[in-house]
Symmetry: D2
Subunit: 295 residues, 4 copies
């Protein structure tokens, strides 16, 4: 099955890597904060001291980090993965970045004699854990075919959506929809709570509109804002979507409004909380809480 | 099982009534446009010439019409259902109206010695047909208990959500979420289409975010804008939600933006098309179509 | 010069009436809160006990009240001005209402054999005091000609803008522009303050953009939020503009966003403060104040 | 009076430079498109072949170009102004850029032993021509004092608003206010036109709200969309303001909505038209024109 370099062990990567391990791959892992890698040692993974080291001798390298600068940091430079890759190695980036970043990184990889596939994911923490993510790959058919067996260990729906950049666009599209759903849910919850309805009842009915509401509304009601998807990253994606809209000439009114609401929550220091924490801005303005403990 | 007066045979009512008939109730139906009632004659329903006549002799009366003025038209006045009801009759309004309208109608019913329950529904055309609607009733526990067996013939999840008005608020909350999801879907679809992605692929991935997207995106791609939920009514609900937000002191930024986008589509004469027709405004601005035939 | 019935002595009316008095008209004044009329007694005005009494024997009747229901209250019913008017009396409504209200009131006046002109004003408290308002009249050329000498005592630019309803539309248009300017000013002030700039310097530069900013920004910086134009009324006008936009098929995205920001301030109980108080919502979110005393 | 290098002869710079000439300064001018410089030859200006050449031997260098990349292009690199400056030369950038760009350029200048002042302007084409601009300088008091006599030839209100970056923030604040005013004007004009009012009358009344409306509305009504401030640049500034809002933690809801409306106009290819061209998007949606020729 060969050796896989796996770089990025955050909320998503830390769960996805376990499914790669379970499938029997030999793994060399690296994370900027080294402590997050420790738990994998016992499962048989080799802990690398740099992205370069994680890539050395691997035939496929997976990266999943938080944003374009973080991606550049693990791929480029003397300690980056590119520097460690043997010619012809397939680099698979599963981060959420903008299409221009994917295209730029792919061009750099190609110039170095490497292969590159973008393969961002959706489905959240639960799907990452269970290996049932949706994976939206952009790149050549050959690189997709070469990556597919590995991607199948992490995802249930593994799609080749088009050439380089198309995977990122689709990821941004699905994330803007998610951000808008969260914002709409917040408005529905707060409106109903202010009218005196039981938030649990409201939450149950709104959950029919979206599995994302089904997963997140009960956590909001319980006051659980530990991030499964941090507001900081959701806002980053919303901004990338708006930037793509600008470049492509597609006005995104709903997304633009949601971006400002997220900005309001960020201004209040909520970046590391879950993306649903934006509801607290609305609650503060409306003078009501949807949480039992605060009622 | 007694006799049921059923008033309003539109997109939803015309489907719901069949499940009431199947359950063995005796039915007296009325619709403003009489032709829509004809098909029920063969199924055993009596066709009434007025809302008053439909209510005469019934022990329960169901109304499901398009908005507050339409509700007033079928309940009040010399030919209205209230005039036909025997004392103690239970009137169940399943229309989507604002809480103030429900409260006003309930007060009028009470003054006439009648009982009144609001019971708006969600789930769309499919659930109306299959009798699997979610029904959100507001009113007294006694009236809810009296209505429940009848409501069970039309819905799968039949909830008593609180006193009079709470059903309407919850309905408005769930509909504002739906309107925002449609708007977000439109933005995601058009963004990805302009970037060159295959809309069918995008549609499939976005469908994971919401069953509403799963039902409506394929219709959009096929150019089917015949209304399952007309834009005119969706906009009416969005406006009622914004009005409730004003009265309750809950700003609804996302919903407010979506209301203007719906207004833009209405300005182009799309009121009788499906609520998803708002995508055509975005497509016109962006200069791209997500439909094969137009591509 | 004849006798003028003057109904409504609020922030605007209370100042405008003095210019009518100064011009030598005989005046019969009425205000719901009687105490506001007292100061005019010494200036020679007769204090009426009802709107009807203020209209009795007058050849022209001026109304300037806060909104459509208040207008209906002073014009209609047994104690309303219509009941006191002799046939042929010219009623001039200077309130800000929607075109449909103007048209409905004009029709009622006509049915009673009265003449009716809508003549809303702009210019703020200062212009009301100095008799330099801009007055936008809608109605017939004859009624406008008959009203003009009286309107000239209150305004500098007295325009006949079209048939009944056109005056209201123009007033709503100019007020939506004002509301958006206030909102833009707030964003500019808070952005610059958060960056560390001196708000007084910012205020001076932004004032070049609009005399409204020139008048209001220094008051904001001094913490003076006593209403010259209450947020409650500004929000009412914004809502009337949005309603007109819906009826006419004109989406108003900017105004719609401003309406939600105003709603946020109303939710915090600021309705009786000046319309500029919306800046406090933004300051609370951004965690900064543009006022010296709070800095 | 010394020698001034003047780089950037666009809509603004091309007018401002004439006032510098009139004041008696020796001038070395450079523009990327050389033809724009030709007209100045007869007025005594030396035409430089590069930004570097324009800076050579000058004791003060003025730059006024369209955006951060254009600024970098004329200042940096082997042919840039920095390369031509003698040690201690004062570089005055009058472009509209973001504070981070000003700070970065100032740091680079300092590293090269140069002095740097940001001094963006407001007032439009007319004020540029008449030398009555408002100039908002950021930098040290010493550099401001050294630049003031030169700035006085171009502006009427020449302000030192704070340290490096503060000038840019204030410029972004005043431009976001302008963009919102234009958007509000558009909404008021189209609403009133759809209601049947004479746009010229509406334009006259709205002009009281802002001199910017007074300057631009008549041009819109005459169908004149040749840029005095191109939409492309206005949108660039709006985006810089939103970016500053994100960095500083200030949500800008109104500006965010206006940015999407500008994006809609850009999507229709209007970037080189005046910023007021956004009204055409609204007109297209509403199905009405405010221009006589199109009526």
């Amino acid at each position: 099955m060969g050796t896989v370099g796996f770089i990025g062990l955050g909320i998503m990567g830390g769960r996805m890597v376990r499914n790669v391990l379970k499938a029997g791959h030999r793994l060399q892992v690296y994370n900027r904060t080294a402590s997050k890698a420790e738990g994998l040692r016992g499962l048989g993974a080799a802990i690398a001291a740099s992205a370069r080291e994680a890539a050395a001798g691997a035939d496929r390298v997976v990266t999943i980090v938080s944003d374009p600068p973080a991606l550049s940091a693990v791929l480029e430079g003397p300690d980056g993965a590119f520097a460690g890759c043997a010619p012809g190695t397939l680099v698979i980036d599963m981060s959420t970045v903008d299409p221009a970043t994917s295209q730029a990184m792919a061009a750099k990889a190609q110039a170095l004699g490497l292969r590159y596939l973008e393969a961002p994911v959706t489905g959240g923490v639960g799907a990452a854990e269970q290996g049932t993510l949706t994976i939206m790959a952009g790149g050549t058919p050959e690189d997709f075919a070469a990556a597919k067996p590995l991607l199948d260990t992490m995802g249930k729906k593994v799609l080749h959506v088009g050439p380089m950049g198309h995977g990122s666009v689709l990821k941004l599209a699905t994330n803007l929809v998610a951000a808008c759903i969260v914002s709409a849910m917040n408005e529905g919850l707060v409106l109903a709570a202010k009218a005196g309805l039981d938030p649990a009842m409201v939450s149950e009915v709104l959950a029919e509109r979206s599995p994302l509401i089904g997963r997140t509304a009960p956590r909001i009601l319980a006051g659980q804002f530990a991030a499964t998807f941090p507001l900081r990253l959701s806002h980053k994606d919303t901004q990338l979507a708006l930037a793509a809209g600008r470049q492509l000439g597609v006005p995104l009114f709903t997304t633009g409004t949601v971006a400002q609401l997220q900005g309001a929550a960020l201004a209040r220091g909520m970046g590391d909380l879950d993306q649903t924490a934006t509801i607290q801005v609305l609650e503060a303005i409306a003078g009501v809480s949807v949480r039992k403990r605060d009622a």
